[in-house]
Symmetry: C2
Subunit: 637 residues, 2 copies
């Protein structure tokens, strides 16, 4: 067993502008996310356990442990699904004990420990199928990728339960890897980034500086143009075209790209190397300036599951993998910690409520791998996948969402997301503060924040004013606060707080039409509906029977109306719009005609009914679209 | 050697409405296609011979023949590239002798014959790599696909030269296959259709009815839902989801789909089974009503190289494989023969001049595999491909283009394509007729047709009036002809022709703006330029230095102007349009904004210069677009 040096303060990375809070410092008190966590805890985690059994993940561990016979089952990265699920279980166990979940987790951890070889190596695919070929296919073998997920699970489980069992497995494997790879040892890095951020976390949890150095090594090894790529793609597929510090474009496989950037940002948080943060900022600008869907979805192409060219953002055949949304959330969180800039929290929230949350069904037992912005029907969430990276990744994200709610720094507390919650934190002064948040966010934009506990010294409360918000207002104890509440910034309130002080943040949420950059083909002359942080969509099933969502236009001059629908999936705010149904018979059988030959399609006014994008495909697999063509002038007048 | 039963009349399929002409009945007399055939003969065919050497195709044949040692090189379908190249050489040898080409061909045929096993089997991949596993992977093995290309080459070479050498190889292999597959024998069919139409041709050339029956068997075996598919695709990838006669949608891998339909139509031409023609018509309507690019390009998706959903027709990430365009030409030709309906000739011409011809560079030595309608730059034709299906497929198509120019039936002669040419035919009456065509098509729409030879009996001349043509006129010996010349039909002139009679067909070619079906996302509120059969595009290099083709709009109300540019790639008609360059700085760094936040981008008038789509990327690899956003009303007034 590795000697522990004792953790560095896991909430204080040396170069973080803002500090994360310990795992249990935020408790959700009901509301939107608590509801989803309840489904996740009650249904998803148990469903995943069954699926991991059925798909062979546990079987592979048993065979590797010598406790069963048989062939390896599934793709070569199946171990990682177990680790991600364990990480999710850990976050739930941190919230409240649960004998069933605990027993499932202990059973899995026992198997994992038994499968580990005496020298510390652990990968059931290699152990069963190619036992003499460890790390022989770094490009596609996923050994370090699986290791990374093990490390993350181990850190979470240790933080959640205090149990060292999985952390011991992780550190033994990390030490084994560290004995093989590194300066003066073997070169190379994994084709699928993930181990970088995991090693930084393992360093934070154990204090073992070798892990941080190894993370740095794996980042430094990347970009030598040696990896094979896939299909039509060269090394850019694997984030290996250019060294990280020289990169100017986000490219290649989206999950790989975003996990890598999360790891690079983690490395910056510990080392402060400006070139890493500069590269991360360049790639973030490249992504948000041309390569991101409105939902926060990343990855425009099926081919290579990859980012496309700037402005290549189709609604139908986009990939927008759920794991890419998760990776983007992780990266943006780290960028927020590094810089304190609200743009990162904005994108985190945009992604969380839309392109991420669409990944899971209301029942918690069906999942999207791909999250398009347009479906012509027939596309549904599946109970599991042959490549099942997304489902347990969703589970660990839902289970830990309160982690993104608040941070602290020397000056006080920052609130990033709004949910009913209790937040406690110890300021640098040593003062303990506690807050309570009450809100119906994201359905309503009113947030009440009550100071529950505070010392006498003044401190600063920062409240995030979302980028979509142009009319925020803040009152303190009923009086208008003397602070700027500009969109896309943090409003500051400096005060000698008293218990019982009450801050009211008002974020009006009129439904709004958005347009997209004129260079995007797929969204030209169209509009999308947004209300608060939620992107909306038209589902065919909500329209009048004679209205085809692919033959409608939206009237951009007519008002949008938000309405609460208590019967929709437990209650949701829907948005109604005015539009026209076009009679497209003039085009029947034709795809291309001389301009004007079919000018002025017959039309009739219709109501369009929109629901939150994340909620689509929960009531059958009919057609859906986010972007709606806008009526030309003649139609709107 | 197989006993020959003697050919059926290869120009008269029993259920063809119109009969093809023998190989040498049409001679091109200069003009657009003759120029391209000269490049093909002089450069492409020799280039291909070098490439086939370098890529290992000949090497594989030598190894299989026992004349060389070594491993198999390349993918498992490399034999087919040799066959397609041989077919192209055959067409050229039919036009005029050429000692070099003949020697190359004989060398290849000698190798092929030597590689054939004593029992008739022939596939170098299987013979070298998996000699005990013939036809063990029908889904992906391509053995029957390669056989089909062998048969087509053999028929062409036999027709062109009279040499039986390759035809002997082909019939021996066909007999071998016929001994294995068929009713009461082994079930199954190839994952990549091609052998169906080849077997029908082999039947036509040899009179051997077993080949026709085998073609029918392979068609009947398809659609049982047993093939594995690929990636995200199931059996529809392989055209195996539903039986051909029940199919209602064109789907899956585009080249597979279109080769299959060509074979199905060939089968109809010989058997007259109405269910086959009905299915072909349904799939043609499905394709042209929703799944075809303006260039005639087929296959909307990289993923699976496949057709997309109806109206899923992106400009940038479309596949539009050159081989799919060729397959579409082959299918449309057969549908034209079967039905005599001009819509098939229209699509054949549209595809030939645009989505097919873009596949080859002006130098004849570089080729596109994928033919997008929008390039952001950096995309160029390659000298060869690891999967080199397209280059030799282009060569055989260019070399045989005159085949599509004219047909005969009991009533007379039909002219489908316009080119300077001499056409001779023997009518069913036994009368011999000869025509001469003079034209500068596709650059100008005037066609002069002179009767060179004719008997005294009246016969009917049919002239195709293209679907894009609304103002055709016809004069006979200087007098307006008494015939309808409606777009998308054949104009009929019935007459007791005299040698020297002169028909003048005038097809005015004003440049025209087209719009696309409103349900296509990628082309919404945009226009494309067409002149005659040619689709045009904007190449970045032709615009003023300060004009970015992705920041322009076209003014749909301003006139388009065609102008001859003698310096452009040997002389081409270009089209100039008026438009605006938009200042997009208001969008810098933003992808999505509230509607109206950036209304009214600053703009200035610019000239837009368009060139034929097929000619793009011959002068560097800069950006290109076919579809151009249209200025909104405010801009045009």
């Amino acid at each position: 067993m590795t000697e522990r040096k004792g953790p560095v303060d896991s909430t204080r990375s040396r170069h973080a502008r803002w500090r994360t809070l310990p795992l249990t410092s935020v408790q959700l008190d009901g509301g939107f996310w608590a509801d989803r966590q309840a489904v996740n805890r009650r249904s998803s985690l148990v469903h995943a356990y069954r699926m991991l059994k059925a798909a062979g993940n546990f079987h592979n561990l048993r065979v590797a442990a010598g406790r069963a016979n048989g062939d390896y089952r599934g793709r070569n990265f199946l171990d990682s699904d177990v680790y991600k699920w364990l990480e999710a279980v850990a976050y739930e166990l941190a919230k409240a004990p649960d004998a069933t979940l605990r027993q499932m987790a202990e059973e899995a951890i026992d198997l994992i420990a038994a499968a580990q070889t005496p020298d510390g190596y652990l990968n059931t695919y290699v152990q069963i199928v190619t036992p003499d070929s460890r790390f022989s296919d770094l490009d596609h073998g996923h050994e370090l990728y699986c290791a990374g997920h093990l490390f993350q699970a181990a850190v979470a489980y240790h933080r959640a339960t205090g149990s060292p069992a999985l952390l011991d497995v992780a550190t033994r494997f990390a030490d084994y890897i560290d004995g093989i790879f590194g300066p003066g040892k073997r070169p190379g890095t994994d084709g699928h980034p993930e181990v970088e951020m995991a090693l930084v976390e393992l360093y934070r949890e154990t204090g073992e500086a070798r892990y941080l150095k190894l993370a740095q090594f794996f980042v430094d090894e990347r970009g030598k143009g040696k990896m094979r790529g896939l299909g039509w793609y060269g090394p850019e597929y694997h984030q290996d075209r250019v060294p990280v510090r020289q990169a100017t474009e986000i490219e290649g496989h989206a999950v790989r790209a975003l996990y890598l950037m999360a790891g690079v940002t983690d490395l910056y948080l510990e080392t402060g190397e400006q070139a890493l943060l500069d590269a991360a900022n360049r790639l973030w600008r490249d992504m948000t300036g041309g390569k991101l869907h409105l939902t926060g979805g990343a990855g425009a192409r099926y081919e290579g599951e990859s980012f496309g060219a700037p402005y290549e953002l189709p609604s139908d055949q986009c990939y927008c993998e759920t794991c890419a949304a998760i990776a983007s959330i992780q990266w943006n969180w780290r960028m927020l910690l590094a810089t304190g800039e609200a743009r990162f929290a904005d994108l985190l929230e945009q992604t969380l409520y839309n392109g991420f949350l669409s990944g899971v069904a209301a029942d918690g037992e069906h999942f999207f791998y791909i999250n398009p912005l347009l479906s012509r029907g027939g596309y549904e969430r599946a109970a599991w996948y042959e490549v099942a990276c997304c489902p347990p990744n969703i589970m660990r994200t839902v289970a830990s969402v309160e982690h993104y709610l608040a941070t602290t720094d020397a000056s006080g507390v920052q609130v990033h997301l709004y949910s009913p919650a209790s937040v406690s934190a110890t300021l640098e002064s040593g003062e303990r503060v506690a807050l309570r948040l009450e809100t119906q966010y994201p359905w309503q934009g009113h947030v009440a924040l009550t100071i529950v506990e505070t010392g006498a010294q003044p401190w600063t409360l920062r409240l995030r004013i979302p980028g979509w918000q142009e009319a925020a207002s803040i009152r303190v104890n009923g009086q208008a606060a003397n602070t700027a509440a500009r969109a896309g910034t943090y409003a500051l309130i400096v005060r000698a707080w008293q218990p019982g002080d009450r801050v009211e943040l008002d974020l009006p949420m009129p439904p709004q039409l958005l347009e997209a950059h004129p260079q995007i083909d797929a969204t030209r002359a169209s509009a999308a509906i947004r209300r608060g942080p939620l992107v909306y969509c038209l589902e065919q099933r909500d329209q009048d029977p004679d209205v085809d969502i692919f033959s409608v236009q939206i009237d951009a001059r007519a008002p949008l109306e938000a309405a609460w629908n208590p019967d929709l999936l437990g209650g949701m705010m829907v948005v109604n719009a005015c539009g026209h149904a076009l009679d497209m018979n003039g085009w029947a059988g034709h795809l291309y005609r001389p301009l004007g030959a079919v000018e002025g399609l017959p039309r009739r006014p219709v109501q369009l009914r929109a629901v939150p994008y994340f909620a689509w495909a929960n009531r059958g697999a009919r057609a859906m679209r986010v972007w709606i063509p806008r009526a030309a002038d003649r139609d709107s007048r």
